[in-house]
Symmetry: none
Subunit: 118 residues, 2 copies
């Protein structure tokens, strides 16, 4: 299947080690205050903080933010849903649809079986 974290049209991440909140905001098309807000909502997102509590984002932070962005803005998850998906194996939910139908068929077959046992 297609990579779900793929954001269209975002600029490449420059080859440097640290990024300010303003830069990340540009790179990810997400406003700074939203970045701070997400930080409270996604524990996994925690840029290093230096002098004066300033945030310094690294590449993996930028990537994660793009991932979150995709889940929220493109795929239509709630924050709770996105959080769950980020640290749980998403396969479990993926299987849910097919399993729903297969499960139902199975239940019915077992009913038939019990009738046939007579």
């Amino acid at each position: 299947m297609l990579d779900p974290g793929n954001n269209a049209e975002l600029p490449a991440i420059p080859a440097k080690r640290y990024f300010t909140i303003g830069e990340v905001s540009e790179l990810c098309a997400v406003k700074p205050h939203v970045l701070r807000y997400w930080e409270q909502e996604f524990p996994a997102l925690s840029p290093v903080k230096r002098r004066g509590n300033r945030r310094y984002y690294q590449r993996h932070d930028v990537l994660m933010i793009r991932q979150i962005r995709s889940l929220l803005y493109e795929q239509g998850f709630t924050i709770t849903g996105a959080r769950a998906r980020l640290d749980g194996p998403q396969a479990k939910a993926e299987a849910s649809m097919s399993h729903q139908i297969v499960h139902q068929v199975r239940v019915e077959l077992e009913e038939v079986l019990s009738i046939l046992r007579h």
Copy 2:
């Protein structure tokens, strides 16, 4: 092998053709007014209506409601996200996969049936 976060706890769908909104509400653990609301939000969900505009749900309606329920309550989609998901390529792939399985089972059952006829 129970799948976590699935609609596993929901009762089996009884072997009848039509269900009232109250029955579906029980079967899916979704309140009637929410079922009516979802009907406006998901065009694909449209139970037949008879005398006095009463809804008569069929099996596939019940299954779809459980899918929607799973997307909204368990997987954490917004309604918009769930809707996109339901008629997006994702759903089609899964649906066709389930369809194949169901079809296969049906063919086998018909073989069994033809044997039983003797």
